[in-house]
């Protein structure tokens, strides 16, 4: 889905609405940012009126505050929330096959996967990077995961460049944002200030170009693209969190033993929220089910986390990571170090979700800095 970007178009809010309508007309199930029961989520979008207009988020370690302003017209004013696109691509629980007993033995049937054609609307650059990380995990090796692959092939990606950074964003450090460079069909920057409201769009694929042509938008003016660029740069400048991505792998490999792990384990609940919200974490466990009479069985895949004891359970011996310190170390070292050796990229894209949604506000950037500091001491 990569491609060179071409010229820019400028869409009015009405033309943006027409784009959403065109998507639906073309048979896409559109998913995008919404507010439901007072919470920011990704959900079905039937028209641009269903987006999170006027909302903005404030994030700090362990806290997320959503607010609405009557003054703001922005449809994409919220940077991100707990949901990631993993929600649509990597199912939390999925039956893989079913087996039926018969007099002569048993027969096995693979569970079919028939995903709808879907469009992800407003994918942040870090989340595009995360999807590409999961692409490498699920489809990059010798055995592709059929379920992920089929869903992924059916997904159109419409990126939203960032014009704000949350208090927990550090995509700039990870090289994944705040502008999307590749990995999308369409990308836009929303400009909503001083009474002006428009979307500067670029198309990267044939599918994207075709959709864009349906909303009758004119080419963007130089002033409009300049404004969009300036907003993206201001988001970059506003990012307060940083991570030394260049040295982190070597640092963590040198620090399997470091007093910081024990200190963090005192705070860490081993609740697994960080891995569950992380858009790149991909771990799962297999669960075998039987019917009560034992005539049928099925195997399901269920999302799992390196923070559970079952995850590292060794036959006859229990978990090899009984201490929370070793589980926290596994998580952080996988994200920032061993992932490079395993998949050739960082396992962290700097979205900040693990920091925000950790119920006790443990901050991966702060932990990285603390390990470096403890080593220097």
């Amino acid at each position: 889905m990569n491609g060179e970007s071409s010229g820019y178009s400028a869409l009015t809010p009405a033309q943006f609405g027409a784009l959403v309508a065109a998507l639906r007309q073309a048979g896409y199930a559109v998913a995008g940012p919404r507010v439901a029961d007072g919470e920011f989520v990704f959900g079905d979008v039937s028209s641009s009126a269903g987006l999170a207009a006027g909302y903005a988020d404030e994030q700090k370690p362990g806290r997320y505050l959503l607010s609405k302003s009557a003054k703001s017209a922005a449809l994409f004013g919220v940077v991100n929330g707990q949901h990631s696109w993993k929600k649509y691509l990597f199912s939390q629980q999925e039956t893989l096959w079913r087996a039926r007993g018969s007099s002569g033995g048993f027969s096995v049937e693979q569970e079919p996967c028939r995903p709808a054609k879907s469009a992800f609307l407003g994918v942040r650059p870090c989340d595009i990077a995360a999807i590409r990380v999961q692409d490498a995990v699920f489809t990059g090796g010798a055995c592709a995961d059929t379920y992920y692959k089929t869903r992924r092939e059916n997904a159109l990606i419409i990126a939203a460049n960032c014009t704000r950074a949350s208090g927990n964003c550090f995509c700039d450090s990870m090289g994944s944002g705040p502008r999307a460079r590749a990995g999308f069909d369409l990308a836009f920057t929303e400009v909503a200030e001083n009474g002006a409201h428009y979307f500067v769009f670029e198309a990267a694929t044939a599918a994207g170009k075709q959709l864009l042509s349906k909303c009758g938008a004119p080419a963007a003016s130089a002033a409009q693209t300049r404004k969009a660029d300036a907003l993206i740069e201001s988001a970059r400048a506003a990012m307060t969190k940083k991570l030394d991505a260049k040295n982190i792998k070597a640092l963590l490999y040198r620090n399997y033993e470091n007093p910081r792990w024990e200190q963090t384990a005192k705070r860490c609940l081993a609740c697994a929220n960080c891995t569950m919200v992380c858009p790149t974490c991909f771990c799962s466990t297999m669960e075998d089910q039987t019917s009560l009479d034992g005539a049928q069985a099925s195997r399901a895949r269920r999302a799992d986390s390196c923070f559970t004891l079952d995850f590292s359970w060794i036959h006859g011996g229990g978990s090899v990571r009984p201490a929370a310190s070793s589980r926290y170390r596994q998580w952080m070292t996988h994200k920032l170090a061993t992932w490079h050796d395993q998949f050739g990229t960082s396992g962290c894209v700097g979205c900040g979700r693990c920091i925000t949604w950790c119920p006790v506000g443990i901050d991966i950037t702060e932990e990285a800095a603390a390990i470096a500091e403890a080593e220097a001491d």
């Binding site: 609940l269 075998d288 999302a303």
Partner: protein, 267 residues
Amino acid sequence: MVPETRNLKKGKPKLAVCKLASCDGCQLSLLDCEDELLQIAELVQIASFPEATRHFEKGPYDLTLVEGSVCREHELEMIKEIRAQSRFLVTIGACATAGGIQSLRNFADAKEYVSFVYAKPQYISALATSTPVSAHVAPDYELWGCPVNKEQLVEVVNAFLNGRKPNITARSVCMECKAKNTVCIQVSRGTPCMGPVTHSGCGAICPAYARGCYGCFGPKETPNTASLADWWKRELGAQEDFTQRSFRTYNAWAPEFRAESEKHGKK
């Protein structure tokens, strides 16, 4: 601890439901299984199930589900007899697994409670403490919850019948919350939630209705209660008595919750 059901002697396995001190809510969960219960009734011989029928058959039993905690004098003997009669003994619910809500008495003077509640306290023969089955005999499996989750209950019976381990994990309620895509209310609303230290099993019901988890399923594996309580106090402004009450509800006598509750509020 996987029971060898395949070696059962001829005939259906015998199932008994036994009751110690409890509200019967967990037995009701089994009764509530409707469709599955009919199937179960075909696959096992129900020897005893007080909430459903007066029919009673003597042991030994292949599978015994025990509800309730040990609260009264005669239950001390009863649980030993139940164990002796049971090939595979499963505790069901907070009472049998952790002592239940009635273990709140363990933090106070039970005699005093009795005199408040009953007109003729001399007829009451209550022990000073309410204790879980495991304090008296060794169960083969413990199912948490106040009440138990009926799918988990059926899963335990299913696993027994098919000679496999139940698909039940000691992970946090948070993982169920996330699996449902419920937005975390502790983070988004600042509502103190027991989910990060609580055993999964309920399907994260309360957070889905914007209420903090009450800890009905008891402590999860390696619960870090101190860190959670510290965050509630520092960041969410929780009062000490609130924290004490949060750890002293349905699973007050579960060792990890008990220890945390003793660090907060009045002694």
